[in-house]
């Protein structure tokens, strides 16, 4: 079987170039960094110099946002080749993508768009995941989306849909707890029920991020804006996931209105405290047994 994802079981953050000097100033108490694949698909220059330096000191997760795995049409072979080249260049501990689509008819729409959950789309997504994993010769992680709508024809629940993708393709999962919360509020469903139904034993990474809250004609509406601290209720839901599944590598994503390095690091430390609580708990019970 292809190489599995193997990030250290600790907190990490999404790397932003403006933090490079602060990060390079000394060892950071972080398990890994994550970068968006597409930002490193240029030939050379500072992006690669920085990533090379980070990779020398930390584990790396490469997170794609442009493969459009949920597209009805075929995957972009050129883009998949670029991803393979990048993975060969940095040998990351993990490679992940989204359960979403972002390209259609040769146009890249620069947003992670939702798909209906049906037998037809399940077959398409699984074929695409298979193609990516066989091209890269390793396991990828697939991330649950943040959604604002649902489709009338969706016949399968999202957690069940994702569980079936894992079963059919052997891919791992990236559980974005903020996305679960955002989608649940927007769809009027229960985030705990979603987690209860989610195949947690296949989760190899967790994402946490801040969302923006607005209103949609009186109804509460959350936008997955990645521009704020992780909401308390999302952190609480995360703690429940860790209590249930045990420690899992956890990433803080902050993509808009990016704060200074100490604040981002502090967010990661919040997740690390939760991981530590369960790591020591796990260690204690192992000792007792």
């Amino acid at each position: 079987m292809s190489r599995p994802s193997d990030l250290p079981c600790a907190a990490g953050v999404g790397f932003k170039p403006q933090h490079f000097e602060a990060i390079a100033a000394g060892p950071q108490p972080l398990g890994f960094f994550e970068v968006h694949a597409e930002n490193y698909m240029g030939a050379g220059g500072r992006p690669h110099a920085q990533l090379h330096s980070l990779r020398a000191h930390y584990a790396l997760s490469i997170h794609g946002v442009g493969l459009s795995i949920g597209a009805a049409g075929p995957l972009d072979g050129d883009h998949l080749a670029r991803l393979k080249h990048l993975c060969n260049r940095y040998d990351p501990q993990s490679i992940s993508e989204h359960l979403a689509w972002s390209s259609h008819g040769g146009t890249f729409l620069n947003d992670l768009l939702p798909l209906p959950y049906t037998q037809e789309t399940l077959a398409i997504v699984c074929a695409h995941v298979d193609q990516v994993q066989s091209t890269l010769q390793r396991q990828i992680l697939l991330e649950n989306p943040a959604t604002y709508i649902r489709f009338a024809q969706s016949a399968i629940g999202e957690a069940d849909f994702i569980a079936e993708i894992t079963r059919r393709t052997g891919c791992g999962l990236l559980l974005d707890v903020n996305n679960v919360f955002v989608s649940s509020v927007n769809q009027g469903t229960d985030p705990r029920a979603y987690i209860a139904n989610f195949p947690l034993d296949h989760v190899r990474e967790i994402h946490l991020a801040g969302h923006a809250e607005t209103h949609d004609g009186g109804a509460r509406l959350l936008i997955d804006a990645h521009g704020a601290p992780v909401a308390d209720r999302v952190m609480a839901l995360y703690a429940e996931v860790i209590a249930k599944a045990g420690p899992i590598p956890t990433l803080i994503e902050w993509d808009n209105d990016v704060p200074a390095w100490p604040q981002l690091l502090a967010e990661a430390q919040c997740a690390q405290i939760i991981l530590d609580a369960h790591q020591s708990q796990g260690a204690r019970s192992a000792t007792a047994a």
């Binding site: 597409e38 049409g73 040769g106 146009t107 009338a152 024809q153």
Partner: protein, 260 residues
């Protein structure tokens, strides 16, 4: 089935005149259109922001509102074909040049060309610039027969307008003020190490560098440069080649092997 749904979705995303795909639901039936508009907004904002990130000086020159219109019309005419957002907008300078409402700002397309080149240079392939000591080792009699390989990042944006001065004014290099000495400027964009350099080229340099990058020998390049501008100064240009880190290798070609 799914392909048709996705097509309807994609078309409605970028065309607000189109109805929201009928398959879309929200927890309250009348929310669907408003919810769909979140995706429309995400797509529009993300693409406009992508252009603003690559063309910040162009944006400052025309102001935010005008830039949004310009970007919006460009996106409709030239949607991105690749997920590599850093390179989105290769056609933007040409689009600006053909944009009637911006015709009065004649220097604007060249500023956009310069900004596009700056991003290409930033992401260009790495190559180590040759140390200037190499030039010290060349004898004058061989100089005409030297062929240079230029750094992969090197680009020249020739302009009839003072584009380097205007760019510098927007990057905090010099204060934004009236330009009393309104002259044409050719810009050299390069990235010998990690930072992009933008310089104003002396007369004839653009022709000289074009000839060198086309594989011509120094003697041939000098002829092109002098033909382009009688004030061409080879000494200054040779120094520039090395001081700016533009040369990655050189060779002295034998007279029998003069074809580029």
């Amino acid at each position: 089935m799914y392909a048709a749904l996705q097509r309807d979705f994609a078309e409605a995303l970028t065309d607000p005149g189109r109805a929201v795909p009928k398959d879309i639901a929200a927890c309250h039936a009348d929310d669907a259109a408003r919810r769909f508009s979140i995706y429309r907004n995400n797509v529009a904002v993300a693409l406009i922001d992508a252009l603003a990130a690559r063309f910040p000086v162009t944006q400052q020159i025309v102001g935010d509102d005008f830039f949004k219109i310009l970007a919006h019309l460009f996106i409709a005419a030239h949607p991105p074909a690749s997920p590599l957002m850093m390179f989105y907008g290769e056609d933007f300078p040409g689009f600006i040049a053909s944009f009637e409402a911006a015709k009065d700002i004649a220097y604007l397309p060249d500023i956009a060309r310069l900004e596009a080149a700056r991003t290409r240079a930033y992401h260009a392939e790495d190559a180590a610039p040759l140390d200037a000591a190499v030039l010290r080792a060349i004898e004058a009699k061989d100089l005409g027969d030297v062929r240079f390989s230029l750094h992969p990042s090197v680009e020249i944006i020739a302009s009839a307008y003072p584009i380097v001065t205007i760019l510098a004014m927007h990057m905090g290099g010099i204060p934004l003020a009236e330009i009393t000495d309104w002259q044409s400027e050719d810009a050299l964009v390069s990235r010998p190490y990690l930072d992009v350099d933008i310089r104003c080229l002396p007369p004839g340099s653009a022709a000289f560098l074009h000839a060198l990058s086309g594989g011509h020998t120094l003697a041939q390049a000098v002829e092109y440069a002098v033909a382009a501008h009688s004030d061409f100064d080879l000494g200054i240009n040779l120094a520039l080649l090395f001081n700016a880190g533009l040369v990655t290798s050189l060779s002295i070609v034998s007279p029998e092997d003069m074809s580029p």
